[in-house]
């Protein structure tokens, strides 16, 4: 079995880890680095529970290899600290079992950063890659829209 020692930058920390070339980023984050916020839902790109942030873009970590991202800045849900998006998710009851939540939050977080003025269409385009089986999505929509509004206020003040 071929393994390599690689360095990853995760949540602002440099972490060395020995991986197989075939190890997915999701597997390495969860099983080697103990970052279990990103979840396995399908391991096939169909559900979005494994979504993390790679260089500002939401990525499905089940579809990436750990060896691919040695130069990248990786943020997982554990790296977000009390963002207004997280507060809005709590406030709007945007989750029940919470299993899809890290994925939704990481996806929406990147959306808000890249497109703070996102309209309904764009929000849908981004978030439709994730599945939530518990909520009716309305609560998630409200949370994301509130966080967008906060981001817009911050931008106006700057």
């Amino acid at each position: 079995m071929h393994t390599t020692e690689i360095t990853l930058e995760v949540n602002g920390e440099t972490r060395s880890v020995t991986v197989r070339n075939a190890d997915t980023l999701l597997y390495v984050l969860r099983d080697k680095l103990g970052l279990t916020g990103a979840k396995p839902g399908c391991l096939n790109g169909d559900c979005g529970t494994c979504t993390i942030d790679v260089d500002g873009n939401p990525m499905k970590s089940c579809l990436m290899l750990a060896v691919e991202v040695q130069e990248a800045k990786i943020t997982t849900v554990e790296g977000l600290k009390y963002s207004s998006l997280q507060t809005e998710f709590v406030d709007k009851f945007a989750f029940q079992c919470g299993y899809c939540t890290p994925g939704f939050i990481m996806n929406a977080n990147a959306l808000i950063k890249q497109y703070p003025h996102a309209n309904d269409m764009l929000i849908k385009e981004w978030l439709e890659s994730n599945i939530c089986r518990c909520t009716g999505y309305k609560e998630i929509e409200e949370a994301v829209k509130s966080a967008l509004a906060t981001a817009q206020t911050v931008l106006r003040q700057q």
Partner: protein
């Protein structure tokens, strides 16, 4: 006051920061991993299994195959080998498990296991199962062990038959001036919880068996494992952390048994069995399918006089909860209407499909799809408005249910009020079919709902409360937090009772069957009722103990005291009080003498007067109360390509009392979304040989973000006097009218009878253009 408030769920911060832990999030270097080898056939003899190569593969510690000495398992009928033995009965059935150091190594070795099959003729639907020439899924049905109240019919594919015989059908038909009869069908589908099932097992040197599982029934795992393997129940310890969605699908005990057998094969070392999505969809239990015939008779002015119902549930290869589901279907066989004369046969049949288990609504969305759709067919034949027909027959206090339970103003909610509100919200009087242009129409459709629970008559729930030195309380309940927020509601009930701040209540989210009192199973929308009553009882005991201790400090009789706001106060002289924090661990006198000790209390609850159903007539009382409601859907329908968009989805439900407003709203909207998915799109596609062609979230597509309609949800509050604050069950009800409402609105929009699910445009097109019914899409 916290009752009714939208208190955040207690585990909210964990869930948004990624620190919430689910079963698969726990792992240790000591843990081995099992990979299942599953059957590619729906029905086949296992000729041979060659495991030699796999055993030699790197990292492999054991390979387990089915054995004659493994027990047969199943909650009602012991019909299922934990790993297939002799033959396989469904596509996806486990035939072997490879246990290795890592999952990757286990997977690699699994490819080396060679299984030779000889295929057998397949039973691909309930009607095929009932045909006299059908192959038998279980040749030895007559010999299986079973519980008392299930009646398999040997040498057939019938696992159970529940009969309802109410009134006199002859009179019913004589009094009926108009009759309609309709056939319905839909195949199995899936729960598709985002967290796939996962279980670990370990056998300690002292004989303790540690199991961790993403389950709704940790206490049932303990009970069943002890039964199956003749183990001391006290030596089995099951833990369940947070569960990532369940919807009934995590009721059965399946992977836990395989994990235990795997651990046994490697000398007790911990082994994890984790379902990948494909396995989770077909290897583990699914949502039941149904074929139904509904015949209704009424007077010309719409008074229902007779109902003849034939339900055949597709339980798949094993009965699991199929028999109970068929029983629950019989209990609520008519929808929430008063009908004097009812004949119903509800059958649980074996097929070669993945086996079925509980699914949110537990037979109600399935039966109501058939019944409520027939109500619309009848309304049309009578030339009557669908609301009017339902209002005329609505079940009321004073009526009896199909199983002849007498209803009163506490044990059934207010259906006429739900209908009235729904009609107003939907602006029904503005029309239910509006042409927008040449191509598009807007249409509306409705369904009524009702549900009671059909759970074990002796199911119980316990709660333990202990004080912390700061006067805050710990709440321990065996209820599993599967996403419904029930444990937060329990904290609210406790806070209300103790007149304290809900933030001062610490709720243990994880369940551990050794240290926490049993909550039978987290199912049937009964968590709040059962555990809530246990909380109230425990709180009463806490209050009694606090008063007793305080009476010594305040030198008065306990009856002169009042508990609340962190204190025990002398009622007629509030200046005299003592802090709960000061007496929660007993009281120390100035000279050093001390009395008491940590104050703790327990409470328990069991339903009263529940009975089994009579075998010949079905009469009996299976559940404590009926939640009722009315639901509707409004769509925009394209008459050219038969696509449609759900614009609005409505629910008016009599919840008895709202305990946590946003929580309740979330339960209802989420259930509606799931119901819309089931009705509109979700179904397994089987080939002729019973193979599932779409066991993936790419080909089996639940609703995604952005497809959601506008939800309009309102609550009616008719208290159920036995339940905490009068609250009725609510976790499932948003789902159960959605399939019927969607079928009704689409039938209305397309001008045809749509009696199958899922309601994909292709089905509408086929029936519209070719008049094809009863043909699978």
């Amino acid at each position: 006051m916290t009752i009714g408030d939208s208190i955040f769920r207690k585990e909210a911060l964990e869930k948004v920061t990624g620190t919430a832990k689910y079963t698969d999030d726990y792992h240790s270097p000591a843990m081995l991993h099992a990979k299942l080898i599953v059957s590619p056939h729906a029905h086949a003899k296992i000729k041979s299994i060659d495991i030699l190569e796999a055993q030699k593969a790197p990292g492999v510690r054991a390979v387990v195959t089915g054995q004659a000495e493994f027990p047969l398992t199943g909650e009602e009928i012991h019909d299922r080998p934990p790993i297939a033995f002799g033959k396989v009965r469904y596509h996806g059935e486990p035939v072997a498990a490879v246990i290795a150091d890592t999952l990757q190594l286990a997977k690699k070795a699994a490819e080396l296991v060679k299984v030779t099959y000889e295929s057998l003729p397949v039973v691909n639907s309930p009607s095929e199962a009932l045909s006299t020439s059908a192959p038998l899924v279980h040749e030895n049905l007559g010999q299986y062990e079973k519980i008392q109240h299930v009646f398999p019919e040997p040498n057939t594919n019938i696992a159970d038959r529940i009969k309802i015989r109410k009134g006199n059908m002859e009179i019913g038909w004589q009094e009926s001036e108009v009759t309609v009869e309709t056939n319905f069908s839909f195949g199995p589908s899936d729960h598709a919880a985002m967290e796939t099932r996962c279980a670990t097992a370990e056998i300690r040197p002292d004989g303790h068996i540690l199991i961790s599982s993403s389950s709704q029934s940790p206490y049932m795992i303990k009970k069943l494992m002890s039964e199956y393997f003749d183990l001391e129940a006290g030596k089995i310890i099951v833990t369940t952390p947070l569960v990532g969605g369940a919807y009934g699908g995590k009721v059965p005990t399946q992977l836990e048994i395989i994990a235990y057998l795997a651990s046994k094969a490697v000398g007790g070392r911990p082994v994890k069995v984790f379902n990948e999505r494909e396995e989770d969809m077909i290897t583990s239990p699914v949502h039941i399918g149904l074929e139904a015939t509904v015949k209704l008779g009424s007077t010309r002015d719409g008074k229902l006089k007779a109902a003849k119902l034939f339900y055949t549930f597709d339980s798949g290869a094993y009965s699991d909860k199929g028999a109970t589901i068929s029983r629950a279907a019989a209990v609520s066989c008519t929808g929430p209407y008063f009908i004097e004369n009812i004949w119903c046969d509800s059958l649980c049949v074996y097929t070669n499909h993945p086996y079925a288990t509980a699914y949110r609504g537990f037979s109600h969305s399935e039966v109501l799809f058939a019944f409520e759709r027939t109500m619309d067919v009848l309304a049309e034949k009578l030339g009557m408005d669908p609301f009017e027909l339902r209002e005329k027959n609505a079940i009321l206090p004073g009526h009896t249910t199909p199983t002849e339970v007498d209803l009163n103003s506490s044990n059934v909610g207010n259906l006429p009020e739900c209908l009235r509100k729904l009609k107003e919200l939907m602006k029904w009087d503005e029309g239910r079919f509006i042409k927008i242009n040449d191509r598009k129409v807007r249409a509306k459709g409705i369904s009524c709902i009702w549900k009671t629970s059909t759970i074990d008559t002796n199911a119980s729930s316990g709660v333990i409360l202990t004080y912390n030195p700061d006067g805050s309380l710990n709440l321990l309940s065996g209820l599993v937090e599967i996403g419904t927020g029930t444990k937060t509601v329990l904290a609210q009930i406790l806070a209300e009772k103790m007149k304290m701040d809900v933030s001062q209540i610490h709720v243990r989210m994880e369940v551990d069957t050794q240290t926490m009192p049993e909550h039978w199973k987290t199912v049937a929308s009964r968590g709040t009722y059962m555990a809530g009553r246990a909380v109230q009882q425990a709180a009463d005991d806490l209050i009694r103990q606090l008063k007793d201790m305080a009476s010594r400090v305040l030198v008065c009789s306990p009856d002169e005291l009042e508990v609340g706001y962190g204190k025990v106060i002398v009622k007629d002289d509030p200046t005299k009080s003592c802090m709960i924090a000061d007496i929660a661990y007993g009281h120390k006198y100035p000279n050093g003498n001390a009395i008491g000790g940590q104050i703790m209390a327990n409470g328990k609850f069991m339903f009263k007067h529940m009975t089994h159903l009579d075998r010949e007539t079905g009469s009996g009382k299976p559940g404590p109360e009926w939640t009722v409601g009315a639901q509707g859907i409004e769509i925009e329908f394209d008459t050219r390509d038969f696509t449609y968009r759900i614009l609005k989805a409505y629910s008016v439900i009599d919840v008895g009392k709202v305990l946590n407003y946003k929580g309740a709203l979330g339960q209802v909207m989420g259930a509606m979304s799931m119901g819309i998915g089931f009705a509109g799109r979700e179904a397994f596609i089987f080939d002729r040989k019973g193979k599932v062609l779409n066991p993936q979230l790419r080909t089996y597509v639940p609703p995604h973000y952005g497809e959601h309609p506008e939800y309009i949800v309102e609550f009616v509050e008719t208290p159920h006097i036995d339940a905490p604050h009068g609250a009725r069950g609510i976790g499932e009800h948003g789902l159960i009218g959605m399939p019927a409402a969607l079928a009704n609105v689409l039938s209305n929009a397309a001008g045809i009878n749509l009696n199958q699910l899922p309601l994909v445009p292709e089905l509408i097109w086929k029936i519209k253009t070719q008049g094809v019914q009863n043909d699978s899409v």
